[in-house]
């Protein structure tokens, strides 16, 4: 049984009550079926209300749930084989990023995944899923091989952000991430990036330059952690809940803003309620996109990836307004050129 989140408690209490009534009824031989049916009906409604309209902050809690399945929980469901490759050949092997060669529905693929620990010990080993530069350089090394051997790349994002400490600064955290961005933009192989849990800022983006970006239903992908955003905006990290709403970072938001291409359904209440089903659905969606992308020519894949990135961003442009709309609006043009 998964650790319940605060907003799930009313439902769990109700379910507990139903269980007790059923037990009582069976033990004492008293017919409580009317009462039980009423409560069961109530539970269905409550379930829909809670899980059907999860607020951004509740999604954050699900995405960060200590029992949320990580990459290793999905490995056997997704791949027929997975051979892990370690080290960046420069400094160390970072455990916050795992990579290797896998067989996906009979197709050899390169896999890069951010991995959070399941307990304190593992989290210390994996730095809570926050990669150091050597993690990104390992990812880059393995992705270069994917390009060399014409293997599709599947990346799995789940990080609060890139490691932030002196060591990361000394070894060029910024450069390590930037190199991943530049390299991924240039590859001729299909790339699918999946946000599996937390998509924390630049540290997540480093694996996010896909032809297709998938997001599991209860994940978020953000320029900044909601706590940090709240402490900058309102000098109060406890207002993270408001920040979570303001940042518009849920899977639906990212889909609308043109960053995510498809949302992968999770079992009711989140992937941690049924990792097996979550993994099967992810495999289904991945296969759908991969088989489509494998039909594209290498140069087309690269161009389309560029086009996708090129299209991200929303702004207004007077010049084009002029051309595309009407001359009644030309007076708008005049007050725009403030530099003249």
């Amino acid at each position: 049984m998964a650790q319940p989140l605060e907003f799930e408690k009313p439902l769990l209490e109700l379910e507990q009550k139903i269980l007790e009534l059923q037990k009582f009824s069976a033990e004492k031989g008293i017919d409580l079926s009317v009462e039980i049916t009423t409560l069961e009906h109530k539970a269905v409604v409550l379930k829909k209300n809670i899980y059907g309209r999860l607020q951004p902050w509740q999604k954050v809690q699900i995405a960060r749930h200590s029992e949320r399945p990580n990459f290793y929980d999905y490995v056997q469901l997704l791949f027929e084989d997975f051979i892990e490759m370690r080290g960046d050949r420069l400094f160390a092997d970072d455990r916050a990023i795992v990579g290797g060669v896998a067989l996906f529905k009979g197709v050899p693929v390169t896999v890069i995944a951010q991995v959070k620990g399941k307990d304190t010990k593992e989290n210390l080993q994996r730095n809570f899923g926050m990669p150091h530069p050597e993690g990104y350089r390992k990812a880059l090394r393995l992705m270069e091989q994917a390009e060399k051997f014409h293997r599709p790349i599947l990346t799995f994002i789940d990080t609060p952000g890139a490691a932030c400490d002196l060591a990361a600064e000394e070894r060029g955290q910024g450069e390590a991430i930037a190199r991943c961005l530049v390299a991924m933009a240039g590859y001729h192989v299909p790339i699918i990036s999946t946000v599996m849990g937390e998509g924390g800022s630049g540290g997540a983006l480093a694996l996010g330059v896909g032809n297709v970006v998938l997001m599991l239903e209860h994940t978020f992908y953000s320029v900044i952690a909601p706590e940090s955003c709240a402490s900058i905006l309102w000098k109060d990290p406890s207002k993270a809940q408001e920040a979570a709403t303001a940042l518009k970072f849920t899977a639906e938001d990212c889909l609308r803003l043109g960053v995510a291409d498809e949302i992968v359904k999770e079992p009711l209440g989140g992937a941690h309620k049924d990792a097996h089903r979550a993994g099967e659905e992810l495999a289904r969606v991945l296969e759908k996109h991969l088989s489509r992308l494998r039909g594209e020519a290498p140069e087309v894949l690269r161009q389309k990836r560029y086009d996708k990135l090129r299209a991200i961003g929303i702004f207004q442009e007077k010049q084009r307004l002029d051309q595309s709309v009407s001359e009644t609006l030309t007076n708008l043009d005049e007050d725009v050129k403030i530099t003249e």
Binding site: A162, C164, D165, L166, A168, E169, Q173, G174, E175, I177, A178, R179, L181, V182, A185, G186, S201, G202, L205, G208, V209, Y221, S222, V223, I224, C229, S231, L233, E242, A246, L247, K248, F249, C254, R256, L257, G258, Q303, Y306, D307, L309, R310, A311, I312, G313, I314, F315, Q316, E317, K318, Q319, R320, L321, L332, D333, V336, K337, I338, T339, E340
Partner: protein, 305 residues
């Protein structure tokens, strides 16, 4: 919600440039630069050595302390004037306007303040100019505009400038000063890192030179994208450069950075940048580097510099 934005009739909102868009050089909307007014106040105190400096003397010295060489922050336009041959700069895309697409709390007000403070429509200045006789595409962050942060407009302006450089077969110099990706445009800001980097992938494939000059301060998503991707990385003395700011590192993991961490010199010691160069030497250095990388200057050609 932000989908309503597409229904507003007053402006047209463009959520993309149809790519690949090969812009003819003539198609680039260009505006002529103007001189920025001198800042108020007759004198300032050097934050490093405490010397009282007359604003006029400071201006004459490219805003570098005459006593201790402390480099004051300067605006994009001031930097531009220190660099380009007179009258050669043509500005691009000055008509791109920011959209508060997330309807983010306080963003509209912050934008208005920033426009006022920086006297610029957004936090980026891009265009084409000539440095010591060599034509070049130039991009600048404007630090006074929301800490030089990168949202959709900054990302788009830089990307267009890089794409035009490819069309015009010109080298690119980007002067960074930025707190990183702009929080108020959420995930769109984050992906400007990928967008600008992807344009630089193409620039590199076209065999064109990219010089990145990191100035005080350069952090976050900008360090983790274009600022770190130069063929040559140059920084001004004392400039703070890093991925995570010292305050955030302290808050997050309670680690106090040692004195001098994240300075230009620290970055150079750790092998992360090529050169630390005084502001007064920047133009001549860039001029030399541009000449040595001019087309036809490579091995096998008859050109002598």
């Amino acid at each position: 919600m932000f989908k309503d934005i597409f229904r507003k009739t007053k402006y047209v909102t463009i959520s993309s440039v149809p790519a690949p868009r090969r812009l003819a050089p003539e198609a680039a909307p260009e505006t002529v630069m103007i001189r920025k007014e001198l800042p108020d106040g007759l004198w300032v105190k050097c934050p490093k050595c405490g010397e009282v400096l007359f604003t006029k003397d400071l201006e004459k010295n490219a805003k570098v302390c005459t006593k201790c060489s402390y480099h004051f922050r300067i605006s994009a336009r001031e930097r531009l004037e220190l660099l380009v041959d007179e009258g050669t700069f043509a500005e691009w895309d000055n008509d791109l306007q920011t959209v508060d697409v997330l309807e983010f709390p306080g963003y509209s007000e912050k934008l208005a303040e920033a426009r006022e403070k920086a006297q610029m429509p957004e936090g980026a200045l891009t265009g084409r100019g000539v440095i010591e006789g060599v034509p070049v595409v130039l991009c600048f962050n404007e630090g006074a505009f929301m800490m030089g942060s990168m949202g959709s407009v900054v990302g788009e302006k830089f990307t267009r400038a890089i794409e035009r450089a490819i069309d015009l077969r010109l080298p690119v110099i980007i002067f960074s000063t930025s707190g990183g990706a702009r929080m108020q445009e959420g995930i769109l800001s984050l992906y400007q890192m990928a967008k600008t980097s992807a344009a630089l992938t193409r620039l590199a494939e076209a065999g064109l030179l990219y010089i990145s000059v990191l100035t005080d301060p350069t952090f976050g998503g900008v360090t983790a994208s274009y600022a770190s991707l130069g063929d040559i990385l140059i920084a001004e003395p004392g400039a703070l450069i890093g991925f995570t700011g010292p305050r955030v590192i302290k808050q997050t993991i309670r680690q106090e950075l040692p004195p001098g961490a994240q300075t230009a010199e620290f970055n150079q010691e750790h092998g992360l940048i090529d050169l630390v160069v005084e502001r007064s030497q920047m133009r001549s250095l860039l001029g030399r580097l541009l000449r040595y990388h001019q087309e036809g200057a490579g091995y096998g050609s008859a050109v002598r510099i």
